[in-house]
């Protein structure tokens, strides 16, 4: 998928926004692999270019939410008096429905890639925070952490050396999950018209445009939809695989 996104222009694509009124609503053929839409744009090219948006949004949302969530989670898990305050704020954030927040943000500051990404990231942060906090709470009771305290190791080192590594494997799984669900949310937002601006092809707005013509040209929705599903599935499988190889105990058995 990454390969697709980076090398999009080289993969037998035509210009994704070029309109060609003669070739409107063509069925899939050798020239237009996935068919064309109502403006005669090539669905294959649009899908390939659309992968750029999806991957960027997915990755950025995953990385951002994991970094922020990790930091807040470590603090909440280790510094007791901040715990209650931080977790109530997180509970508050979690109570906001993600899609509505995204629509609100987009309507406030206009549709752009950045607003969409932020809108998707915010509701994901509390999930990461909860995960990290629960791991920190159990790891801080481990004797080796206590041994490090007794050995005079300072707090930042204890966190980074003894606590943090334990959070990585589950975080990777969580990150890929966030990545997958961010792609979905982005597609939903674009489909609803609250996501990426219409001139940028993304899987969501290709499908939104195809909705009207679904009866006569199902391929407009079908191909980007399939690509989206396969990508999200691939990302999740990748997450599980990464976790297994990164965990020293499981890796040993393999």
């Amino acid at each position: 998928m990454v390969f697709l996104a980076v090398f999009a222009p080289l993969l037998f694509t035509s210009d994704p926004i070029q309109m060609n009124p003669v070739e409107r609503l063509k069925t899939p053929s050798l020239i237009h692999w996935f068919g064309t839409d109502m403006f005669g744009r090539d669905i294959y090219s649009r899908t390939v270019y659309g992968s750029r948006i999806s991957l960027v949004v997915g990755l950025v949302a995953a990385v951002l939410s994991v970094i922020l969530g990790l930091f807040i989670g470590l603090v909440a898990g280790y510094i007791r008096f901040l715990d209650a305050i931080l977790m109530r704020i997180m509970d508050g954030l979690m109570a906001i429905p993600g899609i509505l927040l995204a629509i609100a943000l987009v309507s406030l500051s206009g549709a752009s890639l950045i607003t969409v990404t932020i809108a998707i990231t915010i509701p994901e942060i509390p999930r990461v925070v909860r995960l990290v906090r629960s791991i920190v709470l159990s790891v801080r009771e481990e004797p080796y952490v206590e041994a490090a305290i007794a050995a005079g190791t300072r707090l930042p080192l204890i966190l980074s050396r003894h606590v943090l590594p334990n959070t990585i494997p589950p975080l990777i799984v969580q990150a890929t999950y966030v990545c997958g669900s961010a792609m979905l949310t982005e597609a939903i937002l674009s489909f609803l018209g609250a996501g990426t601006p219409p001139e940028v092809p993304s899987w969501g707005n290709i499908m939104a445009e195809g909705r009207l013509y679904f009866q006569i040209a199902p391929w407009i929705i079908f191909f980007p939809g399939i690509t989206l599903a396969v990508t999200v599935l691939a990302v999740n499988v990748l997450g599980d695989g990464l976790r297994d190889t990164l965990d020293p105990r499981i890796a040993k058995q393999m």
Binding site: Y144, A147, A150, A151, G152, L157, R161, H162, R249, Q253
Partner: protein
Amino acid sequence: MTDKKPVLSVENLTVKLPDHADRLNAIEEVSFDVRPNEILCVVGESGSGKSVTAHTVMGLLPPKQLKPTAGRILLQDENLFEKSELELREMRGAKMSMIFQEPMTALNPVVTVGDQIEEVLRIHRPSNPKERARLCNEVMAAVNLPEPEKLRKSYPHQLSGGQRQRIMIAAALILEPFLLIADEPTTALDVTTQAQILRLIRDIQAKHDTGVLFITHDFGVVAEIADRVVVMQDGRIVEVGETHELLRNPQESYTRMLISSVPSLTPKARNNSKVSNVVLSTQSLSKIYGGKSFFRKTREVNAAQDVNIEIRKGETLGIVGESGSGKSTVARCIVRLINPTSGEIYIDDDEIAELPESSLRQHRRRVQIIFQDPYRSLNPRRTVGQSIVEGPMNYGLDKDSAWNRATELLKLVDIDSKAIDRFPHQFSGGQRQRICIARALAMEPEVLIADEAVSALDVSVQSQVLDLLDDVRKKFDLAMLFITHDLRVASQICDNVAVMCKGMVVEQGKSSEVFKNPKHSYTQELFNAAPGRNFNFGEFETTV
């Protein structure tokens, strides 16, 4: 008794381990009989295959990983390997039943204990609720549970460990099986409770003519309860014999080694005539857990109350007591892993009980602690070398000298110093505990605290680690605080002991005096409960 037909015969049983395991078979050609009205103890160290044997008999092996490949198991002449899963299920509970080590996890926490006992009846015998309740009350009374009618409606967490184990036994015995398999049933219990449970198993099996297959690692328990003993090592039977004969006159060197590793209850004579200065002392140290919270009143627990102890240079003070007596709390307060509620802690003349973290830091080096669980006290993601140098480098030792010191210390604790770059999971439990000792010594402490440091180890390893601890104490003239629930261990390593009960020190003095002549009633109770106390292990009649 010996002419009676055995309830259980195991013949040439072999169970294969998965392909990548460190040996081919979990157990190999194991044969033994359990006769009616007999307690057969299977003893062995961890990994000897004793639990696998018990689980094979019950048909409880994980089906994909462990497979019996040869042999027969006959329960009253019926070959268990020829039975279908359905027939086996019929037999479990009715003809044979099992009690487990951990009574908390073996009981379902969301079902009342009465229901759990009655469940056996519901499954095996069509009966009406009244009848079941009656039988349930009866069996609960038989295992000496007070007020069965009331207790039946309680949940496992409302009962103590000993009561839970009694419930397990009640459930196992309600159908009066011929065979009871007990897999380390008293290992998780305190000594006084253990003594009661052992007596209970003994009484009940005598009353019902039950054959008992008793799995244990503890020779004290063996001496207390067994009629005959099977000694296992690495999946094979080493020796079988009548208890008294086997303990007094073991034929095999392995059995001999095991038995002589059991620490004696008579304290070693210790010649600490020189009086050195006090390194560590506490003055009315107290710790209260819980307290008022904003939303509700929580229960306050006096984990430690008014504890006064002192340790001189080169001396070992043992704190003994059962679980919940507050002995670990005292240790953790002294290391300042938790903050004491009140009282003073002196290292030499420095008071550290109330120091804030920033000024405490320079004193942390002086007190080091070794924990109970060798599998969790080393960070699994760091090499042992990294773990050892961490402390010294925190206090400004440069990298090269820290690593040199780590290498030397590994040699001192008898670990190949080439292993410095290995990860903890590549070592055995005993080796890890040695590494933890090296890590503590790397800080050049004045006080070494061992919190149940040998409790998780097999007896033969235990005695080696004990010797090591005693050696380093002498070598570095350390003051050692040794926390243990095991009187035998305490008697071997401590100059002085303090006995704790419910957060208070009830008796304190020289080990030789306390062991010979315990004054406080609780101490006496503790000594009377020590399994195998009438037996001097390692005094054999013959020598090889």
